[in-house]
Symmetry: C2
């Protein structure tokens, strides 16, 4: 690995140069005059000049000379924003393409949990991410996925144990152990999960959390493990309980899960360093239209949060939480990641500097980040389906059946009990009542499992949708009204090496190839957005009523969030952490 | 070294037990009912029950059962206080004796800079401290001294280079690189000092600062190095400038240097995690009468600072700054270091628990911390003087002479130009104008240096005072009105293996033996206080007018704080970092 070619931190030569510039012995490389500096330490806006020395901020004060001088004429200078928790795979693009999308908005770094690519390709997937993000004008910090696989109730492409996690934690760009999602196991005192939290601490790194709806004694038990954060709060009550219990409260505004407005009253300066902003999962549409973590800053300001504090939640607070070296503030010795903002209310970034170099202006990159040519073979050709026929999708008739109810804009699902439509001793899709067939096919050539169930909410009237993005195991998930189209959709994705597809009456209406791990394509966000638009139009043509049908589909296999899910092993009752049959016996749930 | 016998952090077994207790599956070991919990995260006081599981806090909430239940009846429960920067050697006692002194006041940990013992005995001195503090019911965290010796203008007992510092930074209880005092060198871009700061960062540990009066471009240059803190601010202006520049502002209230009142307006919740409380140097008197870092909490509250915020500055903020594992708050997963407080205004601690065990009650230890029997030989017999006679103290006559002016309650000195009293071609002490003789004798058997100068401020009319505590090199410093008494004082200290002494007309009036490194005695604080009292009475008998003559004497050799100092090499002009002669030529300073 060439992971250390660019220092994560600064070199002695760089520091010496910055000290020389700050002391006035050498001219800096760049000088911002007449800036209004957002000071995240004193929560103030300071009028001053800011001197840059190479990648670093040399000093703030009465500096007058540098190789290049930019008079900001009273514009604001803000630290580059850092997203405290994202799964970059949800953007469907590589780190370079992600950076290209958010850099012009003033986002200069992310803390990635490469949970998806790790579930597909294990350590090789994480190393691919580290290599792909090496040398970008964009910080990609990594937390080591802690739940690969997420549960024993699914087949994943790889497993990450303590030994693999230990090896990855040696990397300087790895800053923690990612969200320990198996909260029931942690609360139950499972020693493997507790060991993962302790492992992070032994590196002076952070064990991150994920505890949706967990409260009372269960929350205390979860946190007694040492887990330090959570990004799953959806109400003020939940957020405040977690803050009080010592949680670093990550306020999330993803594409599907949007919690900023509900948690807004908690975002106040008195909570100081205890709140961070994160996006978790964002689709190309939202990244391009709304932005990345800058969305939270902008929205918070518009809803009345003090602008400097809003910026602090997406810069200093996150940097401090993870102890990101020299990031998150405008101060001597810090890396010169800066955004020139002309209007604080709309948080409109005019010009962006990454490590002292201009990288974007007027919403456009000044130079597209180089895509590194690294060996991608460990993450290619990952879709290996069992031999399928329509018979693979047969569900035996039953009078009452469990059905997953998808909820708009929520990752949560509900379990509903339905009377399924039957035909020749089998359950078939019921388009009238919107009980569609849902399948989850193991796609790593390991077990040939096919999980079968019903789902309510898509309202398809024809065809099928399928995806190799299927949290967290990323087996192939498909929803459809007939077995022929389901089969075609699955076979098409195998041919693509992964992706998303909409099928109708034996025809491919639209697809989005995702050849990297079945999760990611090596294309710009704009092209992914356009392809997704076509795909969603196709889904609408099939009758879909969900706002983001493919994201919703991708979460239907997520066996760690209540209530009912489908993995390749079958239906999972999440609260009970066990497989359940589709059939419900009379008088019992 | 047995440094790892007690885990710095928690073990898997301990965490499992705490999770079991928090979840309600097992009874805790201790339950506090009806507590008013100081919550440093939300800056609130929460009425609740707190369950302890062994060394850990299991949970806060509706817990009812434990092996032992204590009904606090509405008393406050505060996190144990942590002193963010102290030189334990200034207390003149061992870690066990220091702990015995401050534990009853609710102080449960300190971050030590063993700079003094390191200057005397190097790595062996630091290892002695780590061993002496092992297994105490008191946290002793260590920062690696960065300036041993402090300057090239003195002879120290040992040198610590990058290799030694690197080895010490491997220790889990070592949490940073201690105050980089050579600020002129840092500002000048000296690569060894910059490398020391970077070394801390490479361990994800903290490079600490010391920049008295440094401001403007010099301050920016100092901080461009990456240095993270400072505890030398004496005015609001200085403190605010440093806060704005990203400094973790340590507010200090030592025995001599007292900055809390001056910095009080900066101690406000809006500065959140950016302020910490420290004592730096405290004598036994002040530790016993006022306390350790609890003094700052108490005084801040009495001066109007929000009590929870005052506590936060001496707990969470310091723990977060150094990333002390699971310390500094009352929350699930944290170490159960707790103080029961009956009156928040006076911050009066009734009962103290360290790691879940009661250690003090009603200002008394319930059990005196065991003094470990470790091999102290590397720190014994450290005083090796050159062969001395009264001739060693002869200063050639000059018309105008530089004289150090000691300032009450300040580490700072001034340079004054005086007309010395002459006798037989030599300068002698002038008791009428209070220009006394000051000597600094190399005491490690290395160079036989004797530095000579004049000092104003002690006002002795007879005899001499001498000390083997002499910052930072800890050579022997003595002040006196005649050479015979100076000689006797020095010879007596050599006999004691180090210590403090007052001599009059050929008689020892009082002494304080400090056989450990010439800095420390293996006795309780109370006994040291009593001996010091006798010593100060003796100093008063000699005519001394300074409030803490031996502390002032010990700082007269500190060649890193302006303006004029005396080391074994001679007089040092600190701002110019060079040796100067006592003689001042006409028309020039």
């Amino acid at each position: 690995m060439s992971e250390r070619t660019k220092p994560v931190n600064v070199s002695l030569e760089e520091v010496s140069f910055a000290v020389d510039c700050a002391a006035g012995r050498k001219a800096g490389t760049l000088l911002f005059k007449n800036a209004r500096v957002l000071n995240v330490f004193t929560q103030s806006i300071d009028e001053s000049n800011v001197l840059i020395a190479g990648r670093m901020i040399a000093g703030i004060g009465d500096y007058q000379q540098a190789d290049k001088v930019i008079d900001l004429q009273g514009k604001y200078l803000a630290p580059g924003l850092i997203d405290g928790h994202i799964h970059i795979e949800s953007s469907l693009v590589t780190p370079a393409a992600y950076a290209a999308g958010v850099l012009p908005r003033g986002v200069t770094g992310i803390v990635c949990d490469p949970h998806e690519i790790a579930n597909v390709a294990g350590v090789a997937g994480i190393r691919w991410l580290l290599e792909q993000s090496e040398g970008l004008p964009f910080d990609v910090w990594v937390t080591v996925p802690s739940c690969v696989p997420s549960t024993p109730l699914e087949t994943s492409g790889a497993r990450l144990g303590l030994a693999e996690m230990n090896a990855l934690l040696q990397q300087p760009r790895v800053v923690g152990v990612a969200e320990i999602m198996s909260f029931p196991a942690v609360i139950a005192g499972d020693s493997e999960n507790l060991s993962k939290a302790l492992l992070a601490e032994s590196f002076r790194k952070s064990p991150e959390g994920h505890a949706p709806g967990v409260s009372g004694k269960n929350l205390q038990a979860y946190l007694a493990s040492g887990i330090a954060s959570d990004h799953e709060s959806t109400t003020i009550g939940e957020g405040l309980e977690k803050l009080k219990a010592g949680v670093f409260l990550m306020v999330r505004e993803g594409s599907v899960t949007r919690n900023l407005e509900a948690l807004l009253p908690l975002i106040e300066p008195k909570h100081g360093d205890r709140i961070g902003f994160v996006t978790d999962d964002r689709l190309p549409h939202d990244l391009l239209r709304e932005g990345g973590v800058d969305t939270l800053v902008r929205t918070a300001i518009q809803k009345g949060v003090d602008p400097v504090y809003a910026v602090r939640c997406a810069s200093y607070n996150t940097a401090k939480h993870y102890r990101l070296p020299r990031r998150g503030a405008i101060a001597p010795g810090y890396i010169a990641d800066l955004a020139v903002i002309d209007d604080l209310q709309s948080y409109h970034a005019v010009t962006i500097f990454k490590e002292g170099q201009k990288v974007a202006e007027h919403s456009q990159l000044t130079k597209r980040p180089d895509v590194r040519h690294v060996n991608s073979s460990p993450v290619l050709n990952t879709v290996k389906l069992p031999k399928l026929s329509t018979a693979s999708f047969a569900i035996k008739a039953t009078e009452k059946a469990r059905c997953i109810k998808a909820i708009h804009y929520q990752v949560l699902t509900e379990e509903i009990l339905v009377t399924p439509k039957l035909e020749r001793g089998l359950i078939i899709a019921d388009t009238e009542h919107d009980f569609l067939k849902l399948v989850c096919i193991e796609r790593y050539g390991k077990t040939n499992n096919v999980g079968l169930g019903l789902v309510h909410g898509f309202a398809l009237q024809a065809g099928a949708l399928a995806s190799t993005v299927g949290h967290d195991h990323h087996n192939l998930l498909a929803v459809g009204v007939n077995d022929d189209d389901l089969l075609l959709a699955c076979q098409h994705l195998e041919k693509l090496g992964g992706g998303l597809v909409a099928v109708k009456d034996g025809q491919i209406l639209a697809d989005v190839p995702l050849p990297i791990g079945g999760l990611i394509a090596d294309e710009p966000l704009e092209s992914m957005r356009d392809k997704l638009d076509k795909l969603e139009t196709a889904a609408t043509e099939l009758g879909n009523k969900l706002p983001a049908p493919f994201m919703t589909l991708s979460f239907l296999g997520l066996a760690v969030i209540p209530e009912l899910r489908l993995t390749d092993m079958g239906l999972v009752d999440v609260m009970q952490s066990k497989l359940v049959s589709i059939e419900v016996l009379e008088g019992r749930k």
